[in-house]
């Protein structure tokens, strides 16, 4: 098992590395030039000034030299400084990451806590009106993009209840209730597709398991339906739900970029959104590496969980 985890960790590192290189190169391909963007306001910019700034930011070096420098620094935990204000990228991320992690965790929590009961209900009450309406909700939840849901919330809440997101973000230690209220809606918007996918997946996997022979054995022992579902059927249905969750984390992380901007939450998502606009390469790169690492790590945890749930998987890994 330990060996398996180490192997998976190394594999994850490789993925993060490849993502970094890819994003590094891709950023240089987007039209727009950080130097000109920064100097845009100054009247009568000379070519000399442009060259000087480029040299200052290290942008006059050949592309692969830049990449090499970046990677060498990154390995030592130095992601460089923001092009905009010279702030250390690691400091910026350190400030913003907890906010995004909280938002993401709330979204996942909502998705799981709502998705599991919905899935169980629709499996148990299969083909009832409840199941039919839950199906509708799920299909909608899976297909509606989360940013659209976020926009819808902001717009309608503003129109109907004259409510709008707080202008100033407050951390959970400053003002917990304001913080939770602020994050609740974007978390809802982010978690909806997770909820819907979990409900769908759990329903179909429960239905399959409930018809299996070993469930008949449990019933033949005289177990109650609660025990049949709660102890045996659920555990046997949960592995595909976990893999959905791993994928959904990617969705949620991606969604934070736009939703944080919509709701004015100063997390990583907003940071990356602003930095892309300013072509602030070091910040964008730093953020992407962190997003990638979080995604890889969570999927590693999900993978380890499979083994905890299923002794056959545990066995295959030793």
């Amino acid at each position: 098992m330990t060996e398996y985890v180490i192997r998976r960790l190394l594999y994850g590192l490789l993925v993060v590395f490849l993502v970094t290189v890819f994003v590094f190169l891709a950023l240089r391909l987007i039209p727009g030039d950080v130097v000109r963007l920064q100097l845009a306001d100054a009247p009568g910019v000379t070519e000399e000034q442009v060259d000087r700034l480029a040299a200052e930011l290290g942008l006059n070096q050949p592309l692969f030299t830049q990449l090499g420098t970046f990677l060498a620094d990154a390995v030592r935990g130095d992601f460089g400084q923001s092009f905009q204000d010279g702030e250390q990228v690691t400091t910026l991320i350190g400030e913003r990451l907890p906010i995004t992690l909280q938002l993401g965790a709330m979204a996942v929590l909502f998705g799981v806590l709502a998705g599991i009961p919905l899935g169980v209900l629709s499996a148990v009450r299969r083909n009832s009106w409840l199941d039919q309406s839950l199906r509708l909700v799920s299909v909608a939840g899976i297909s509606i993009p989360n940013f659209w849901l976020g926009l819808l919330m902001v717009t309608y809440l503003a129109l109907l209840f004259t409510w709008s997101p707080p202008l100033v973000y407050q951390g959970p230690t400053e003002d917990l209730s304001s913080n939770l209220v602020h994050l609740a809606l974007p978390a809802l918007a982010l978690g909806t597709s997770t909820m819907a996918s979990i409900a769908r997946m759990l329903r179909s996997s429960l239905l399959e398991v409930l018809h299996s022979n070993f469930i008949r054995t449990v019933r033949a022992k005289g177990a109650s339906e609660l025990r049949v579902i709660g102890k045996h059927a659920m555990r046997n249905s949960v592995v595909p739900v976990f893999s959905i969750l791993g994928l959904q984390v990617g969705h949620i992380l991606g969604g934070t970029v736009i939703l944080e901007s919509i709701f004015g939450i100063p997390g990583m998502g907003m940071l990356i959104f602003e930095s892309v606009q300013m072509r602030d390469y070091p910040v964008v790169l730093g953020c992407v590496v962190v997003y990638g690492a979080v995604f890889v790590l969570i999927n590693l945890i999900v993978d380890v969980c499979y083994g905890v749930i299923d002794p056959r998987i545990r066995y295959a890994r030793t």
């Binding site: 070993f214 008949r216 005289g222």
Partner: protein, 344 residues
């Protein structure tokens, strides 16, 4: 209603009468069991035989109300004087495992893959007995020993995937015996196993039946097994009992052409197990295309014109009965003489 002279005086443990079971399928409602009835008294072994699709498993499952999607459309299942179709769910749960236990056709998939066999045996015990986990574990070790699994205490921690098919069926038997039930229903407990293992498992079931003083309903394809184990035999065909009687008499002097055909088709060890009873020409009719009249008539060597009418259940001596026109009281000798003609 099936008379059963041998046990007329005693109240049977289990009485199944006029059972009809229906399933709703995409092609409409089908009748998996049309008319099945038999009795089981204490410590008796009743064999239910018949080809694949004759409704044996459905009948067995109906007794415990474990039909997945099926419903009992008619008939009674009386356990110890109590009609099970009328009891509520919690009473039924109290009977399952405690009074009537069941082992199934496919041991490979009948155990929960995610729990150790110890957990699964302990669960079976503690569902009905208010005892501590440690006591239940000790009982589980005892049970594993009784079903012939060596090194029982360490094996408790094994998961089903670590066991062979024969061992899994032994674990299933241990689970079934957990609460010392009065009736064990074994639905083809050995079809999925090798021949050598098959003999051992049957032997085990027979020993434990004696030890636990249980009645046994043994569902099987195999007339050889019937001859060895059964007191009473119920022969099913296409959802009906076609003949039943005491094993000794039924096997030596069958009163229904189907039983006769089954007996000439007793499989030897060389017989291909995937095609049981291949010696009878033709196949069991599909549920949605049952022939009118006698259901066996299209395959029967003795079929004649009367067979297009549903045959009566004819009562014979010794509590035997046969669902066949040949046994009907009316004179039949002349008809019997030229059986094949009507069929062409």
């Amino acid at each position: 209603m099936w008379p059963n002279a041998e046990h007329e005086q005693t109240v049977p443990l289990l009485r199944v009468a006029d059972l009809r079971v229906e399933f709703d399928t995409a092609r409409g409602t089908v009748e998996a069991v049309n008319d099945i009835g038999f009795e089981v008294s204490a410590e008796q072994t009743v064999a239910i035989v018949g080809e694949s699709g004759s409704g044996k498993s459905v009948t067995a499952l109906a007794v415990l109300q474990l039909l997945d999607g099926g419903r009992i459309a008619n008939g009674q299942i009386v356990w110890d004087g109590q009609d099970l179709s009328a009891v509520d769910k919690s009473r039924m749960r109290g009977i399952r495992g405690e009074d009537i236990a069941m082992i199934f056709q496919d041991p490979m998939t009948s155990l929960d893959p995610l729990y150790s066999i110890g957990d699964q045996i302990v669960e079976a015990i503690r569902l009905h007995r208010k005892i501590s986990k440690t006591e239940a574990r000790d009982r589980a070790v005892e049970l594993l020993g009784q079903v012939g699994i060596p090194d029982a205490r360490t094996r408790l921690r094994a998961y089903p995937h670590e066991l062979s098919g024969g061992q899994r069926q032994r674990v299933m038997i241990a689970i079934a015996l957990a609460c010392a039930p009065r009736l064990l229903i074994a639905d083809e407990p050995t079809t999925a196993l090798d021949v050598t293992i098959e003999a051992q498992v049957l032997e085990l079931i027979r020993d434990l039946q004696r030890q636990y003083q249980m009645a046994l309903v043994l569902v099987t394809h195999d007339m050889g097994v019937v001859a060895e184990m059964a007191d009473w035999v119920v022969v099913c065909y296409a959802g009906q009992v076609v003949e039943q009687g005491p094993a000794g008499k039924l096997l030596t002097d069958p009163q229904h052409p189907y039983t006769e055909a089954l007996l000439t088709a007793i499989p030897t060890p060389e017989t291909d197990k995937s095609q049981p009873l291949g010696a009878i020409g033709g196949a069991v009719p599909a549920l949605h295309e049952m022939p009118p009249g006698c259901r066996f008539q299209p395959r029967c060597r003795h079929a004649w014109q009367d067979c297009t009418q549903p045959p009566p259940v004819v009562r014979l001596d010794g509590g035997r009965s046969s669902r066949c026109w040949l046994r009907a009281p009316a004179p039949t000798e002349s008809r019997r003489a030229e059986p094949e003609q009507e069929l062409a």
